[in-house]
Each structure stands twice: as C-alpha cells, then as structure tokens.
C-alpha cells in the first residue's frame, strides 16, 4: 500500500483540524468584540445575526444559490450558452406516457407509494410485535442492521438474492431457491420489466424498515402504561387498544416518518443505478438527471429534471415542517 499520497495530505488535514476551530473561535470572539462596541440597546438585535451568520452563509452558498443557479441553468441549452426558455421542461414532459421523463416520474410514484407504505407497515408491525417479547433488543438490532449497510452494498446483496440459473440447475439466488422448494420455475426478477420495479423497491424496503421500526418503537414506548391499563380495566381487547389508543397516539410520529420516507422515495438513486441503471423500465428522476449530466453532458435538461424533482419534494417538505411544529406544539 502506498501511503505517500496520504502523508502528503497530512499538513492539509492538520490545517483543517486546527484551522477550522481557530477560525470559528476568531469569528465568535471578533463578533462579540464588535457587538460590545455598539450601544447597549442595539446589541440584542445584532447579536443573533452574528451567531446565526455562519449557518446562513453556508446554507446560502451551498443550498440556496445552487437551487437558483440550477433553475437558471435549466432555461439554457446543453452548453449553457443559449437561452432556450422552457424548452428543456417541454422535452422532459413531452411524449406522455412513455417519452421524456414520464417513465421516471411514473416509477418515482411507484416508489413513493409502495416504498413508503411497505416500510411504514413493516416498521409498525415490528415495533408493535417486538414490544411484547422478552428478547426485544436482539431482534430489533437484527432488523435495524441493514441501516448500517450503504445502499450500493444493499443493491449488490439483492442482486445476489435475485440471481438466476436456468430451470433444473441449482439456484444460487435465495429468492429463486425458495421458489424451487415449491417446484416453481425460477424468474429473472431484476431484468423483467414487469417485476423489476417491485424487486428494486423490496430491496430498498429491506434496507430501510429498521429506521421506521426504531422511531415508531420509541413512540410506542412513549405511550403511558396507565392509559393502556385503564383501557384494559374497562374491558378493551388488545386489537381495540391498538386501533383506538396506540395508533392515534402514534399518528404524529407515523406521519413524520412517512414524510421522511416520501422524500427518500423521490430521491431514490443508488439502488436503481447499481441494479439496472434505469434499464427494464426502472428509471427514476435522480438517475435520469445523473445520466443527462454525466453521460450526455446536457446541463440544461439535467437541471430541468433536478428542478422537477425539487418541485415534487417542496410540498412534502412544507407538510413535514408543519407536522414537526404540530408535534412540538403538542408537547
């Protein structure tokens, strides 16, 4: 192993580790110094801005500016030199239902519906079921474990799970091996346009269900025991308790987890890129944007797809923020 390149980076690393805190400290001290020079009355209105300044600057430079830059860029042709108005959007939104970005939009909707619902469903199921068993934490750890795996690795793992050998041969893929036990012919899961989207979404659900389970489980534990006790004393069955007490009390958490999942579904990229690269009718908006940007070098159309994606996420974000506030207010 050649460490010379790493060693060459050491001074830069030291500069970052030492330099960043030093600069921050200098900023805070300098800012505070300047604030003290101001008259007493003015200080409270200036001080917050000094403190929030760096964060605002970061968000501005790395988030707000690029968003507007992308929107601006989406109005130009692929080289970025000629103004073309909305024609990039027209490109992406033409040829319904199979042309432009429509296949990708359709698949994002699939992801949004199936990924979100399945993760919530299984997350809730595992949270409720594990709550009642003595060996709760090992089970929850197991289910949570895929969260520690990167999505690229999840995609590779599931490629093996779905692998195919012709009928009659020993099946090396888990899924087809299970089919073989029931004397069913093996299928190609990822390369068949009728199954591919579902196959990809299942892989993503496996990777994400632990996240939903952990948060929902925490919400479940937050429900006061005496409430359930009282219900039981009043003669309610366990199903009724779940339906009438646990579920309503968990609803705010479910909604927050759900919106997070919706945003993830809209941004879905890695699994699609690794498993199919959008072939077999599985393209999604993020992968389409990547292809337009890197393969076609078409900045205009890539920006247009990015803006379509942002436009789709914004309502969910607003809803999510409102929900957060509602949950906060209830506390």
């Amino acid at each position: 192993m050649d460490f010379s390149q790493l060693l060459a980076d050491v001074p830069t690393l030291v500069a970052v580790i030492v330099g960043v805190p030093v600069v921050l400290a200098a900023y805070i001290i300098g800012g505070e110094y300047l604030v003290r020079l101001l008259p007493d009355k003015a200080r409270p209105s200036v001080r917050p801005w000094i403190w929030v300044g760096p964060a605002l600057a970061f968000v501005g430079v790395f988030l707000v500016y690029p968003v507007f830059g992308t929107a601006y860029r989406s109005l130009f042709d692929l080289s970025g030199d000629n103004f073309v108005g909305l024609s990039n959007y027209a490109n992406q939104l033409s040829g319904f239902p199979a042309g432009g970005a429509w296949i990708a939009i359709r698949n994002n909707l699939y992801w949004l519906a199936f990924f979100t619902i399945l993760v919530l469903l299984f997350g809730l199921l595992f949270a409720v079921l594990t709550d009642r068993v003595p060996y709760e934490s090992p089970i929850k750890s197991l289910i949570f474990m895929p969260m520690a795996i990167s999505f690229v690795a999840i995609a590779l793992i599931w490629k093996f799970m779905y692998s195919y050998q012709p009928p009659g041969e020993p099946q090396t893929g888990t899924v087809n091996a299970i089919l073989a036990v029931f004397h069913q012919d093996p299928r190609i899961w990822v390369q068949d346009p009728n199954l591919a989207n579902q196959a990809l979404i299942v892989a993503a659900v496996w990777g994400f269900v632990g996240f939903a389970m952990v948060i929902l489980s925490a919400a479940l534990k937050g429900i006061p025991g005496d409430l359930l006790e009282a219900a039981r004393v009043d003669g309610a069955g366990e199903l009724t308790i779940f339906r009438r007490i646990i579920f309503p009390l968990m609803m705010p958490t479910i909604v927050v987890v759900g919106t997070t999942l919706v945003i993830f579904a809209l941004k879905a990229f890695d699994i699609v890129y690794v498993m199919t690269n959008g072939n077999y009718d599985t393209d999604v908006l993020a992968n389409r944007m990547y292809k337009l940007l890197n393969a076609a070098q078409d900045y205009g159309n890539a920006s247009a797809v990015a803006i379509i994606l942002v436009a789709a996420v914004i309502p969910v974000l607003i809803f999510n923020l409102r929900q957060f506030r509602a949950v906060e207010a209830r506390r």
């Binding site: 060459a8 001074p11 330099g19 199919t276 690269n277 077999y280 076609a296």
Partner: protein
C-alpha cells in the same frame, strides 16, 4: 482586555497554520510529480504501477496514480474545477476526442513526441485514431482484440466438431450442436450500469465484417442511420446466431440478461458442457483460468469470428487504452513518451491481459501461446477497426447497450428499437 489578548493569540495561531499549509502544499519532491487518472483498480492497478516503477526509478519523477470507474464524470468535474490531472487514460476515446475539440487537450505531434520514431512504430490506423482535425491528441499504449470465439478443444474433438473457417460453416456447426441436444452458444450481457456491451460487441463485429469498414465508420460517426438496411441486417444476423427466442443460447433470454459477462463462459466448462462456444474479447482468458480452473490450450482455445462477407475478409474489431495530456509539464511529457515505448508496454503485457499496439513489439514478450496468437490476429488483421461503441458519444453508446437488452428480450421489436436509436443519434452528436 482578556478578549484582545486572546484575539492576538488566535491571530498568531492562524498565521502558524497558514505557514504550515504553505509548506505542505509546495512541492518539495526532487524531480516533480505527474498526476494520472485512469480506470484500473485491483490487479490491473498493480500492473500499471509495475509499468510506472522503472520510470520513477530512472527519472526521479513521482507518479501520482488515481483510479476511478466513473472516469468520464470525474474528469469533467476536475476540468470544470480547473484542476485536471496532467495525464488521463480512458477506455473510450470519444470523451477525449470531445475534449480535444474543446481545446482542453495538449497537442502531442507538436514537439512532444518524436514523430519519426512514433510513425515508424505505430500502424497508421492507431495514429489516425488519436487524431482530431489532423492533430495528434491521443496515444494508445495497450490494446485488446474482440470477436474471438472461445471453445473447448477437448470437448470439440470428443464430438467431432471442426473449427469453422467461414460464416456458413459456423452456422452449420451451430445447428449440428443444437440438433445434438445442447445449446451451441453461451452469451451473457449483464454488467451493472454498463449492461449490454457484451452483446453490442457481436453487433459491431458483424457490421464490420458484413458491411465493411466504410459503413462501419460512417455508422459510429453518426452519418449512417441505425435503420439503414446494412445496420439492420447486422442485428438480424446476430438474431440468427441467437436463434428464434434465443434458443441457440444456453438459458435463453433470462440467462443472457441476468448473467454477468464475467460468468458468461462458465457453462462451457461444465461436464457435460452446457454450450460449446463463447464470443468475447481477449481479456476473458483471465476469468477462464481463475473461475473455471481451465488450462489454456487444453481446456480453451479460440478461433476468430469468421468473415460474414468474403469481400471484407480478415476484419477485426479491437479496443485500446487511450492516453491524453491535459496539462503540459516536462514531467508529463516524459511520461507520455515513456508509455509509447515497447519496453514500457512489455511490462504489462508480460503480466497478462493486454496486447501492445506497437509494431516493433517483440512477440516473445507475450506470456503464453494463446496471447501470442491473439496478438497475431491483431497484427495480421487486413481490416482493423476500433470499437465503434467506444467511439460514439456516450449517450449514443449507452442507448446502443440498452438496445441490446431490448433486442434480446424481444427480437421482433427490432424496428422500433432501431427507430429509437435513430432518435438518439439525431441529438447525441451535437
């Protein structure tokens, strides 16, 4: 006034940091450094480092090698940031050609390479490939040959099959094998984001051999449409190889689409074999030896894909690693010169998996008989064409690969597949 004291302390610390950064980034290595960006990792990276080692030892120049599979994207990013490596190597020259057109590459036949030696050592075909508007921007250090049909000589002899010398014989052999109850071919095209390329090799080899180099060239240049009868005929010829519903291929559609190209030849080595022939580029021998424990010469040999059309006999498709200079430094000049020498190329060739495009290259450097025969196919080719897919713009190439998947899935959709490729072609070459 503690604040002020602390502030001056902070100032002092910052000054120290800046000095430190200054010392760290100023290059203190003896003879300078050259950065090179390429796709090789693992065993290939070791081979490339072995090539570089004597260069570093003799010149004292440090070579910083950076590897990425997504080299096109990274190179574009680095260029946009104004921080390109001095040298980049790409498996597909189309990106480099595009960059040359944008003036991002350094011209090499303008005092950098000794053109008398270079012209004497390289065949005109390889030199022209590196030229954009008559100026040389790319050189090729290593090459590979495609369109080699691998077979198991022991199993062939056992069944009394003969190595075919023309296309008709190949088709006859194919139906003989099929009537014996075994699928003649093994084909596998899965390769993650690059799925389909292994099938695209078939089509481009047939285009070259069936329609000739003129059609081949105007095809990858985007001047001949995909719906052109010559190109359509090539797909149809491949369709006859695959057979109706891919019945000439082991495992049919499902196996072709879902199996990685790297495992494509495996069923050939099963006992009894599941197929008898596998068309793949020269590098695949590495997989045969490692995955299938096959012995070169006894378990596998090759014959070049026979000429489809006798008019274009001896036509072969190859590929190569193109090198370009993005920044003109004395160190980079030395390295690029070094890479064109047979001595440098021999280091990797001996380690296996590569051929040298250099005419003066000594055949004795090839590690085994099969590699030597592959090299002879390349040097003896009457018509030698570079991989058409790698010469097409990336969007066109990607659509070509995807079209292979659609064609294998349903051959009857050929017309609509080709019409779609035409629509991509209309915009991809801008």
């Amino acid at each position: 006034m503690i604040g002020r004291k602390f502030a001056s302390l902070v100032g002092l610390a910052m000054a120290a940091v800046l000095v430190l950064v200054g010392c760290g980034t100023s290059s203190t290595a003896g003879k300078g450094t050259v950065h090179i960006l390429a796709v090789w990792s693992g065993a290939e990276q070791d081979s490339f480092k072995a090539v570089i080692a004597p260069f570093e030892a003799s010149t004292g120049i440090k070579v910083q090698y950076e590897s990425t599979r997504d080299v096109d994207a990274l190179l574009q990013t680095r260029l946009a940031a104004g921080n390109p490596p001095e040298i980049a190597s790409l498996p597909s020259p189309s990106t480099l050609t595009k960059l040359a057109g944008q003036g991002k590459l350094v011209q090499l036949d303008n005092g950098i390479l000794d053109m008398t030696t270079f012209n004497a050592q390289y065949a005109p075909g390889w030199i022209d490939l590196g030229k954009v508007n008559g100026k040389l921007y790319e050189i090729f250090a290593w090459a590979a040959v495609k369109g080699l049909v691998w077979y198991n000589p022991t199993k062939f002899t056992a069944k009394g099959y003969q190595v075919p010398t023309n296309w008709q014989d190949l088709m006859t052999l194919s139906s003989t094998i099929k009537s014996g109850g075994t699928t003649p071919w093994c084909i596998a095209v899965e390769n993650g984001a690059a799925s389909g390329w292994a099938g695209s090799d078939w089509v481009k080899e047939i285009v070259l051999s069936q329609a000739g180099p003129d059609v081949y060239n105007s095809w990858w240049q985007g001047k001949t449409k995909w719906t052109d009868p010559a190109i359509k005929a090539a797909w149809q010829t491949w369709g006859t190889v695959l057979g109706p519903n891919n019945s000439n291929v082991y495992g049919g559609k499902n196996y072709i689409l879902s199996t990685s190209f790297a495992n494509g030849g495996d069923p050939m080595f099963k006992n009894p074999p599941k197929c008898y022939m596998h068309n793949q580029a020269s590098f695949i021998t590495d997989n045969f030896v490692k995955q299938d424990k096959a012995v070169p010469g006894t378990d596998f040999k090759f014959f070049p894909l026979p000429d489809v059309n006798a008019q274009y006999a001896g036509a072969h498709v190859g590929a190569g690693d193109a090198f370009s200079m993005l920044k003109d430094t004395p160190q980079a000049r030395q390295l690029i010169k070094y890479l064109t020498t047979p001595d440098a190329q021999a280091i990797w060739v001996k380690r296996g998996g590569k051929l040298s495009p250099n005419k003066t290259f000594d055949l004795a450097n090839y590690p085994d008989d099969i590699t030597k025969q592959v090299a002879q196919v390349m040097t003896g080719a009457k018509i030698f064409a570079f991989d058409a897919g790698d010469l097409m713009p990336t969007t066109m190439r990607d659509a070509y690969w995807a079209a292979v998947l659609s064609f294998v899935a349903d051959q009857s959709k050929l017309d609509s597949i080709l019409a779609h490729l035409d629509s991509v072609q209309a915009t991809a070459y801008k």
